[in-house]
C-alpha cells in the first residue's frame, strides 16, 4: 500500500551537535544527518525533476557528497542552526549535474527503436506514476518562469526554507529572493489559467 504524504518538517531543535560530530568525521553522524534530512532532500529532488527514480539517485549522491565535503575542507560553523539549506545547496548542484547527463541519455534513447511496453498495474506503481504526472504538470506551469524564479519557488514554497536560508542556497541576497518571489507571484495567476 502506498500512502501519499508531504514531507515532514525537520525535527525541532538545532543541528549544532550533529554538525560538530560531522566536522570530527563521525560516520554515525552521517547516519543521523540522513535520518533527519533524507526526506526533505528527496521531496526537493522529486519536485525538481518530476521523477522518483532520479530523486532516489540524487538523495544518495547528496549525502555521499556531503560526507566528502567534510573530508576535503572544514565547512565552518553551522549557519542558522540547520543543516537543511546546506544539504539542499548540495542537492541542487547534484541535480544540475545529473540533468546534463540525463539530457544526453534522453537524446540517445530517442534515437533507439521503441521498446515493448510492459506496464505495471500495481497500486503502488500507479500511485507513484500519478504523483509524478501531477508534479510534471505543476512544473509545466512553472516552466514559463525564468529558472532563477522557479528555483526560488521550489526552495521557499516547496522546500519551505526561510528567505534567509534560500538566499544561502542560491548564493544571493535576501532582498533578491524577496524580489524574485514577488515577481513570480505577479505572473502566477496568468500561468495557472494557461495550464488548466
Amino acid at each position: 500500500m502506498t500512502s501519499r504524504r508531504t514531507d515532514h518538517a525537520p525535527p525541532v531543535g538545532g543541528d549544532e551537535d550533529l554538525w560538530d560530530a560531522l566536522r570530527a568525521r563521525d560516520p554515525e553522524a552521517l547516519g543521523e544527518l540522513f535520518s533527519r534530512y533524507a526526506g526533505a532532500v528527496h521531496a526537493y529532488a522529486v519536485r525538481h525533476t518530476g521523477s522518483y527514480a532520479y530523486a532516489d539517485d540524487a538523495v544518495q549522491a547528496t549525502f555521499v557528497t556531503a560526507w566528502r565535503q567534510f573530508g576535503r575542507t572544514d565547512p565552518g560553523p553551522l549557519q542558522n542552526g540547520s543543516a537543511k539549506p546546506w544539504l539542499l545547496a548540495i542537492a541542487r548542484n547534484e541535480l544540475r549535474n545529473s540533468t546534463r547527463a540525463r539530457r544526453r541519455l534522453t537524446q540517445f534513447l530517442l534515437r533507439q527503436p521503441a521498446p515493448l511496453d510492459h506496464p505495471d498495474h500495481s497500486e503502488a506503481v500507479a500511485a507513484r506514476v500519478d504523483s509524478a504526472q501531477h508534479i510534471r504538470a505543476v512544473r509545466a506551469a512553472l516552466a514559463a518562469l525564468p529558472r532563477h524564479e522557479r528555483e526560488t519557488i521550489e526552495l521557499v514554497y516547496w522546500a519551505q526554507l526561510s528567505i534567509a536560508d534560500a538566499a544561502v542556497v542560491l548564493g544571493v541576497a535576501e532582498g533578491t529572493v524577496k524580489a524574485r518571489l514577488s515577481r513570480a507571484r505577479r505572473r502566477l495567476p496568468a500561468l495557472l489559467e494557461e495550464n488548466r
Binding site: 514531507d7 533524507a38 555521499v64 560526507w67 575542507t73
Partner: protein, 269 residues
C-alpha cells in the same frame, strides 16, 4: 492548481531509506578506518622520529664537539635555545574605517573552492561588529591588514588577512573547547632566496603573545612576535639564504602569557 503549495510527494520508501542509510554509514566507516590506522601510525612516527632524533643529535653533538665545538641539528638544521634568539615585533599600528570596510566586505564574500563550492557561508551585506583591525608587518613583504569580526544575527566569528578569508568559527568568550591553548594553520615557501613562514591562529584567553622563528642550516631568524587580539592573530618570519623544505629548515612557534611565561610551543617542517 496552486503553485505556492508544495505538490504532494510520496515519502521516501522506508526500506530503501534504511538500506541507503546503512550503506552510507558503512562506507563512511570504511573510509575512516584506514585513516584511524594512519592516525595510529602517525602517533608513532613522531615518537620514533623523536627517539631517533635524540640519538642522532647526541651523536652529532658529541662528534661536532670533538671537531668544531658547536651544536647542530640532526639534519644540519641549527638547534638554538629559545632564549638565545632576539625578538622583533610585527605590530604596525591600528587600521581605520575605509580600509576596514573594504577588507571586511571582501572577506565576507564567499569564493569558490577547488570543488566549486563556496569557502564559507558569509554574506558581504551582513551586519557585523569589527572585533580587531590592525596592520601586521610581514618580513620580506608588504604589511597586511589583520581583521576579526562577528556577523549578526548569526554570530559567526571571522578572521581575515588583507580581505582574504582565513577561518571562521563560533564566538569564543571566556572559555575554549580547544585541547591546546593555540590552534592555527602554518605555511611556508621559498621566495627570492629566503625562507618565509607564517602562522594564523586562535588562542586561549590566557595567551597574550605569539612568536615565530625559522631555523635553517646556516642560522636562525629572530623571534617575530605579535600581540594576541580578540584571541587571534597572524605572525610571519623570513630567513635569508634558507630553503622552506623539510630537512632544510624548521619553524618554531610559541605562545606566551601576560607574565612572559611560555605556555605552548610547537615546531613545524
Amino acid at each position: 492548481m496552486n503553485l505556492t503549495t508544495p505538490p504532494p510527494v510520496e515519502q521516501l520508501d522506508p526500506e530503501y531509506a534504511a538500506d541507503l542509510k546503512q550503506e552510507l554509514v558503512r562506507k563512511a566507516r570504511r573510509q575512516e578506518q584506514p585513516r584511524s590506522h594512519r592516525r595510529v601510525l602517525f602517533t608513532w612516527v613522531p615518537i620514533v622520529a623523536a627517539v631517533t632524533a635524540v640519538a642522532i643529535s647526541t651523536a652529532s653533538v658529541v662528534g661536532l664537539s670533538q671537531s668544531r665545538g658547536g651544536p647542530a641539528g640532526p639534519a644540519g638544521i641549527v638547534q638554538l635555545p629559545a632564549d638565545q634568539s632576539p625578538q622583533q615585533t610585527l605590530e604596525n599600528g591600528l587600521a581605520f574605517p575605509p580600509e576596514i570596510d573594504t577588507a571586511a566586505r571582501e572577506c565576507l564574500t564567499p569564493k569558490k573552492n577547488a570543488y566549486g563550492y563556496p569557502n564559507h557561508l558569509g554574506n558581504p551585506e551582513a551586519a557585523k561588529t569589527i572585533r580587531s583591525a590592525r596592520w601586521i608587518k610581514i618580513p620580506g613583504d608588504l604589511p597586511r591588514l589583520h581583521l576579526t569580526l562577528v556577523t549578526r544575527p548569526a554570530n559567526v566569528w571571522y578572521q581575515c588577512l588583507d580581505g582574504e578569508f582565513l577561518r571562521d568559527g563560533v564566538v569564543l568568550e571566556d572559555r575554549t573547547w580547544y585541547n591546546e591553548p593555540v590552534r592555527g594553520t602554518w605555511a611556508w615557501s621559498t621566495v627570492d632566496g629566503e625562507a618565509r613562514a607564517s602562522y594564523s591562529f586562535r588562542t586561549d584567553p590566557a595567551v597574550t603573545r605569539v612568536e615565530l622563528r625559522i631555523r635553517g642550516t646556516e642560522g636562525a631568524s629572530p623571534w617575530f612576535w605579535v600581540n594576541v587580539e580578540d584571541s587571534s592573530g597572524y605572525v610571519a618570519a623570513a630567513l635569508p639564504g634558507a630553503e622552506a623544505q623539510h630537512g632544510r629548515s624548521e619553524v618554531d612557534v610559541r605562545a606566551l602569557d601576560e607574565n612572559g611565561k611560555q605556555v605552548w610551543a610547537k615546531t613545524f617542517g
